[in-house]
Symmetry: C2
Subunit: 336 residues, 2 copies
């Protein structure tokens, strides 16, 4: 008998949170089959000659495909470059691009998306080395879906399970920018200050940080936001994490919109930020390296790993501590 | 000004033929930009320490997702294993699986697809090492789309442009099986003999062939069939190709269905066959190696490369020669 509780795929199963993790465990990792075991979005394969090959994959279904600060093309490149960087491969060997297009999609728009991919590749110092194009009939797919896979090499792989009590938690900049920009585009919110996605390839930023000090774990806080990233880090390393709410870098416009909508910025998706778990002795050097890069100017220590409450994330509000829930899914479908 | 003649994507642009090649050239390879240049489905990256990393990608949109002889899961694994094998990487390091699912898709069916992927991986001696899951709302995507990317290493890359006049053209078995099986499933044809897809991972078969003799070029005849593969080989190496119609291995059931529908089996998609361009001195050894493998029992020499008519493919019917046209697109959308 199967143990799956729902018999049909629901939106939450693709939302990067707890429901998705359950689906993956129950469908893709049943029987602890070694051939099927690794349905994480990246893998590290040690090479006989030294070094490891890092492989990642990500499908991008964002809607709308163009938004303030970027488009699905930039997102697809940045997402995969960042997945590689999070595992320590900051110089990608190359990306692949598998694009599925709805019949009738304007070729001019396709060209613009492709130019955006090329520009993001250039920024990341990589290239699309292989591609595949499929077309589905009108109504069989909504617009365009882009899969990007990436291959890199690292001599010092970083895992997401290396956190140790005492380590500092650093976020590389303001949180919630991407999700809020997409929400605004989707709902045509108007704010005095524009809400702009942070989507960016972070490999240059991360290369600097890894060169400056000892990073025990990294995670890009995409679907499910920083909350989801912290839960994964706490869970995989069996440490507790305490976050100081007042230390969280949040843009005033994002704060205002989040307050208005009653959403905690910790739960909002980012596409140009990383959460770093750093050895205490390395914190200053890593922060300096991050802040020297345009994408890391607002980097901040937001908390620390503790021995108490292993697997849990606590938020210190200044008045006390509350337990941060793990997102069940993403607030919005098709955020990335 | 753009030079694209149609301003919207049409079905033929995803069909693996001439229209798709034009779209790729005009959208993805404009300006001969080196970062954007390689939109072929596979890439070879030479490594400093010797050997090359081979990377491929393929999105699978086949409909129906289950058909006689296989399903979209087996197809996704075999397709990518075969792309790697065609470039000489017959021992894949690992595959990635990016799956996009329609809300409401039965989880039981997802489990069956995944089991089929695992079985195909096992057969190919590889594993899915990384995965990504996205869900789109009901009506935003038709069922399920699976992207598989693959990474392998080769010390002797095979290209598709290495054909030389005098080389023999070998096909590893009967042609047209996959496309005809899908056509039958789609249109609910009933024939006395069942039409069954040949979908299979060919890396073991190809490993044997490469070990037995000198292979100058290889291509898997998927969308657009053997005709499309031969055109690409002739075009890239600027040789002529002559095919002997009577030498083509075609199953009687496929022949009967093709005759009934008025389709040339040379244009029908295969998912478990390869076209090999082999040095004349190696032909016997390569044929022996192929025929010793279950997937190569019907391997046959079907023609040769010539100096005449470079870039063209001619079919010798026994009564004379006719020029084989290059497929503009696939006969059916969503054949793979």
């Amino acid at each position: 008998m199967m143990t799956v509780t729902n018999d049909r795929v629901a939106m939450k199963h693709g939302a990067g949170g707890r429901a998705m993790r359950r689906l993956i465990e129950q469908v893709f990792m049943r029987n602890a089959d070694p051939v099927a075991a690794a349905m994480d979005d990246g893998a590290v394969i040690p090479m006989p000659g030294g070094g490891s090959i890092v492989i990642t994959t990500d499908s991008h279904v964002i809607q709308p495909i163009v938004f303030a600060g970027g488009d699905i093309g930039r997102l697809a490149v940045a997402g995969t470059v960042n997945d590689l960087a999070m595992m320590g491969a900051t110089e990608p060997l190359g990306l692949t691009c598998g694009i599925v297009i709805e019949e009738g999609f304007p070729i001019e728009q396709l060209t613009a998306l492709h130019e955006s991919m090329v520009a993001a590749c250039r920024e990341a110092g990589t290239a699309i080395v292989a591609g595949d194009t499929k077309v589905m009939r009108r109504g069989e797919i909504d617009g365009v879906v882009i899969n990007t896979s990436g291959v890199g090499i690292t001599w010092r792989p970083v895992r997401d399970n290396g956190a140790v009590a005492g380590d500092a938690i650093i976020v590389t900049g303001t949180i919630g920018d991407h999700g809020m920009a997409v929400m605004a585009a989707r709902n045509q919110f108007e704010f005095a200050e524009p809400l702009t996605s942070d989507v960016a390839p972070l490999n240059g930023l991360i290369r600097g940080a890894l060169g400056a000090g000892e990073v025990h774990a990294m995670k890009d806080p995409t679907r499910g936001g920083v909350a989801s990233a912290l839960h994964e880090i706490a869970d995989k390393a069996r440490v507790g994490i305490v976050i100081h709410e007042s230390a969280l870098p949040v843009k005033p416009s994002v704060r205002a919109a989040a307050d208005l909508l009653g959403i905690d910025p910790l739960f909002i998706a980012n596409e140009g930020k990383a959460v770093l778990v750093v050895r205490p002795q390395s914190v200053d050097a890593v922060l300096d390296a991050l802040r020297a890069h345009p994408y890391g100017r607002d980097a901040a220590v937001i908390g620390e790993c503790v021995t108490d409450s292993p697997g849990s994330v606590l938020v210190d509000t200044g008045f006390g501590r509350r337990r941060l829930s793990e997102p069940e899914g993403e607030l919005l479908p098709r955020i990335c």
